[in-house]
């Protein structure tokens, strides 16, 4: 157990150092930078013209479907990693188990394909 915890010590250290690095960068930035706030400078950038409407463009829901496809496949990929470390010893049966699992999800991908979710309309 002690080994397990010390293995994560560098991780903690690098996180702290990384945050420190960002803080140091912005502290030096604060010391060196000029500040001249003008109303025009604070405007939202829209290619040089005054901003039109609110900052919210309508986005298409198809982006969401792609994201959801990823989520489903990511949770599936998660099981591949522990499986990768053990299936050599378990042999064909284990490959079959994973094959059934992936097969079901691949059916989902084929379904999405057939329904035209993957083609941009």
């Amino acid at each position: 157990m002690a080994d397990y915890y010390t293995a994560y010590l560098p991780l903690l250290a690098i996180l702290a150092l990384g945050v420190g690095l960002v803080v140091a960068m912005f502290t030096s930035n604060r010391l060196l930078r000029p500040t001249h706030r003008t109303a025009e400078k604070m405007l939202t950038y829209e290619c040089g013209v005054d901003p039109v409407g609110e900052g919210w463009a309508q986005s298409h829901v198809r982006y969401y479907v792609y994201a959801y496809l990823y989520v489903i496949f990511a949770v599936d990929a998660v099981f591949l990693f522990p499986w990768a470390t053990v299936f050599g010893g378990l042999g064909w049966i284990s490959v079959g188990e994973m094959g059934v699992f992936i097969g079901f999800i691949a059916v989902g991908l084929v379904y999405a394909w057939r329904k035209g979710v993957l083609t941009w309309t």
Partner: protein, 320 residues
């Protein structure tokens, strides 16, 4: 106590590499791209072939005014670059360049790297949303959709290597590496590299930041140091991707005289992959958004699923 000092030393080296190597890649990009386009690129800063150009850029960025648009969500806007940058730093801890030459060899190293790199997308979405700008928001959503579409083949290709090696430790994977993996794992290597390139939003996969359509996507409102951090994240990403490709698929420190100069082999392979990243930027035009998604879902994912089957059969046949 000595252990603690050693840990700090390792971490300090990782931090140093994180600060220096991305700059090297950036400089190589400046010069290589220039010569491919029959220009000379930066020549002035530092004297010899403009070697200090990026240092000068950094000095300039630190002195620039910190502009936060009035409509933006200030806190989120300010945090976003750091959230996009830090995952790459953390991921670098687990990448080995030689036997024992690693920030920390985690048992779960490969999965850890993949998981941590997935966090960066939150930073981009934060930047896109908090800018309160139409271009930024649409760019942010595109980035997120792209990252998610390509994260999948990326993760699956990584899983293929893990299956071949039978371990998730990055050091263990290099030790299990064998030259014939170059053939056996070739589709996975291709998928891994292409998907990684797309995740970094590098050309030809840079539609979220396409200047003709979206100004600069989620980074439109950013300037000065915060912008520099986003750019640094991109180059740190190139380094992490190249190093991972070298370690997972090109055999890391394996090569002639690997006992003496193994780490040089890792660095050379990393440099080679990084150069290909730069080359691809100059050589290929940008993909359209629909082509981008089609390549991921109808090209890379089926290919890598096929690779997984090949790997599984190969491993079981060899072990029985």
């Amino acid at each position: 106590m000595a252990e603690l000092v050693e840990v700090l030393l390792r971490v300090a080296v990782v931090l140093l590499a994180f600060l220096v190597v991305p700059l090297l890649v950036g400089q190589v990009e400046h010069k290589a791209m220039a010569h491919m386009q029959s220009r000379v690129g930066p020549m002035y800063a530092g004297g010899f072939h403009g070697w200090a150009q990026l240092v000068a850029d950094g000095v300039k960025f630190v002195q620039k005014e910190d502009v936060v648009p009035a409509a933006a969500d200030r806190t989120v806007f300010k945090m976003a670059p750091a959230v996009a940058l830090l995952p790459y730093l953390v991921a670098m801890v687990a990448i080995p360049i030689g036997p024992g030459l690693v920030g920390q060899d985690l048992d779960i190293g490969l999965f850890f790297v993949v998981a941590v790199m997935g966090v960066g997308v939150v930073g981009t979405l934060m930047g896109g949303w908090s800018s309160a700008n139409k271009f930024s928001l649409l760019g942010g959503i595109r980035v997120a959709a792209q990252l998610m579409a390509y994260e999948l083949p990326f993760v699956l290709a990584a899983a293929s290597v893990a299956m071949a090696a039978g371990t998730l430790s990055l050091t263990g994977i290099v030790e299990a590496w064998n030259p014939w993996w170059l053939l056996w794992q070739a589709p996975a290597a291709l998928v891994f590299f292409v998907a990684g390139l797309a995740e970094l939003q590098r050309p030809p996969f840079d539609i979220p930041v396409a200047d003709a359509e979206l100004v600069f996507g989620p980074y439109t409102e950013y300037g000065g140091l915060r912008f520099a951090l986003f750019i640094l994240a991109e180059y740190a990403g190139i380094v992490v991707l190249s190093a991972l490709t070298a370690v997972l698929f090109l055999g890391g420190w394996h090569g002639p005289w690997e006992d003496q100069v193994g780490w040089l082999w890792t660095l050379a392979k990393t440099g080679l992959v990084a150069f290909v990243v730069v080359w691809v930027r100059v050589a290929y035009p940008r993909l359209r958004e629909d082509q981008l998604q089609r390549l991921a879902w109808q090209g890379l994912v089926p290919l890598v699923l096929f690779q997984l089957a090949v790997t599984a059969i190969g491993v079981v046949v060899m072990s029985s």
